[in-house]
Amino acid sequence: MDLSIVVPMFNEEASLPLLHAAIVEAVAPLGVAYEILFVDDGSTDGTFGAACSLAATDTHLRVVRLRRNVGQTPAMAAGIDHALGKTIVTLDADLQNDPADIPRLLDVLEEGNDMVCGWRERRKDPFFSRRLPSIVANRLIAAVTGVPIRDNGCTLKAFRADLMRSVPLYSEMHRFLPAMAMPEGARIAQIPVRHHPRRFGRSKYGIERMFKVLFDLLTIRAAVSASRPFSRFAKAATAAALPGLLSLGWGFRVAASLPGASVLVPFACASLFFSLSFFLLVCGALCELIHSKHAGRVPAVAGSGAVPPAQARPGVAL
């Protein structure tokens, strides 16, 4: 199997036949062995039935039904785990992505990339509720992770299957797929893709996810983009020690300028900050311990030949 098209879906009964037809129309002329994987994420409408009746007419189509609604990222993980293809393309079921872009993604992937991310050119979404938060989030993600992805929210991506097996996909982390794949030594390209307004159903996102993105970013920063988490914690510990030193200096100044004055508050502040600094150092050591196990695993990308060894993540010897 060369190609797997993975489509997570939740309550998308109306768009299924069109989606399926569009995917077949885009992929069949490529002349590769392909499969289409519909992942029904515990839909409560007729999505599963509609998908099954499509599967009865198309041998390329497989339907994976999840027992309950788990959200987009785990549903995507389910699809990727069950995909047989060497290359995987993911896209949204809501027809806002255009399957006609798939051949272009695959072409760019062929040029020696491990992952090709689409970015939605001329997005057809409301500006203030959808596009503005998205722009802010993308800038923020790019700044924090150092991986300049224009549009992390775009599901339309193509990547090599073995790359994704080394990247953890859980909770809502699909938004950070490129950032998580980068330390694995992946080469990432981006191309503009078409974007259509919603035709059926309604959007399943809200603006409140911005808040979650902030904490997710912190996680990504600590867990992923740091090759050694200890250095991050050590920086934080240094940052906590600075106000401690200032408090200490302030205490000595008070003691020197006003003999007999109480210096309890400055010195107590100093010791609090120093204790925080020490605590963060200990946390860093703990993280290093946890992380070393993770890093000891052989990165999946290293042996594939597509990536020069210098770019692959070295195994950490301890």
Partner: protein
């Protein structure tokens, strides 16, 4: 060689305060439908000679039962989980070793399993005196609030489920008590069943909501398990940010007084509180972050989804 998998396994953990096992067994047996293949598994929690004699007599009389005797009393959930592991049936019924429920309700329990994976059991009326009933209601309304749904009595001695459920859910410690909740969360079909309380309700605080503090800790543990195990920072983050924010605001206010009103900061112990809150906030966030790193590190081994079926 293992005998043929029974259609229905009845697991009875026997510990501490057990009733007349022979009468109990007869009552349970009489309530079972005839057609199913039934095995009984009695798990004795330690050396209980009296129970052993009663069960041996039953066995000699040709009753289809298996006796598992633990080497020492383990207490708590251990006999139950061993009993479940030693049973072979496709459906498992856990029954108490005392007449806590009216056995007449057992057929309805089994019928409930026909179309579902787990029966969520409630015993009514709530046994015990007014004080105990009051604590029961407090505990269960708290549980409903924390867990998000009001399904079943927690710590009731009766469980009914299909074996696939325990094979998929990782049940350790006292988690069995929350089985209906965990199963519901994992997408299994859970149906409520109301049983009538039996002649003798549970006496001493052997297990169940009576051992209040431990039950409360359990509840909190399951609450975390259901909500935040995948994303610890989403729990710790807001708490830490709140503490940090409060401490920061306090410190800024004090600094403002110093700058504009000339109040000497060294005489303001309130500044200590501000700094303490800042430090605590950072620590809480750091702990959440460590949790996230642990999850991230193991994320490749965790499957968050359960496949129901694959078509095509």
């Amino acid at each position: 060689m293992r005998e043929r998998a029974a259609g229905l396994s009845v697991v009875v953990p026997v510990s501490g305060f057990f009733g007349d096992l022979e009468a109990l067994h007869a009552a349970y047996r009489a309530a079972m439908p005839d057609e199913t293949v039934i095995e009984f598994v009695y798990v004795l929690d330690g050396d209980l000679p009296e129970a052993m004699r009663a069960l041996s007599r039953l066995r000699e009389a040709g009753e289809p039962l298996r006796i598992v005797k633990l080497a020492r009393p383990f207490g708590g959930p251990v006999p139950l989980s061993i009993g479940i592991r030693r049973s072979t049936g496709e459906r498992v019924l856990v029954l108490p070793c005392r007449p806590e429920i009216d056995p007449a309700g057992i057929p309805s329990l089994l019928r409930a399993l026909d179309g579902a994976d787990v029966a969520a059991v409630r015993c009514r009326p709530v046994p015990g005196g007014a004080w105990r009933r009051f604590r029961f209601h407090i505990f269960h309304s708290l549980a409903a609030r924390l867990l998000g749904y009001d399904l079943a009595d927690i710590g009731v001695g009766v469980l009914a489920f299909r074996r696939t459920v325990v094979e998929e859910l990782l049940l350790y410690g006292d988690r069995h008590r929350f089985l209906p909740f965990l199963a519901f969360r994992h997408g299994f079909r859970v149906v409520p069943v109301v049983l009538r309380s039996g002649a003798e309700p549970r006496p001493a605080p052997v297990r169940g909501e009576a051992s209040g503090f431990r039950a409360l800790l359990d509840l909190l543990a399951v609450f975390f398990l259901l909500r935040f195990t995948k994303r610890p920072l989403r729990f710790f983050g807001p708490i830490g940010a709140g503490l940090f924010g409060a401490g920061f605001a306090l410190s800024v206010w004090l600094a403002g007084q110093k700058l504009f009103l000339g109040v000497r900061l060294a005489d303001r112990p309130l500044l200590l509180l501000g700094v303490l809150l800042i430090v605590l906030g950072v620590q809480v966030v750091a702990l959440g972050l460590i949790g996230e790193i642990v999850v991230y590190t193991h994320a490749r081994d965790i499957k968050e989804y359960a496949v129901e079926e694959i078509v095509g």
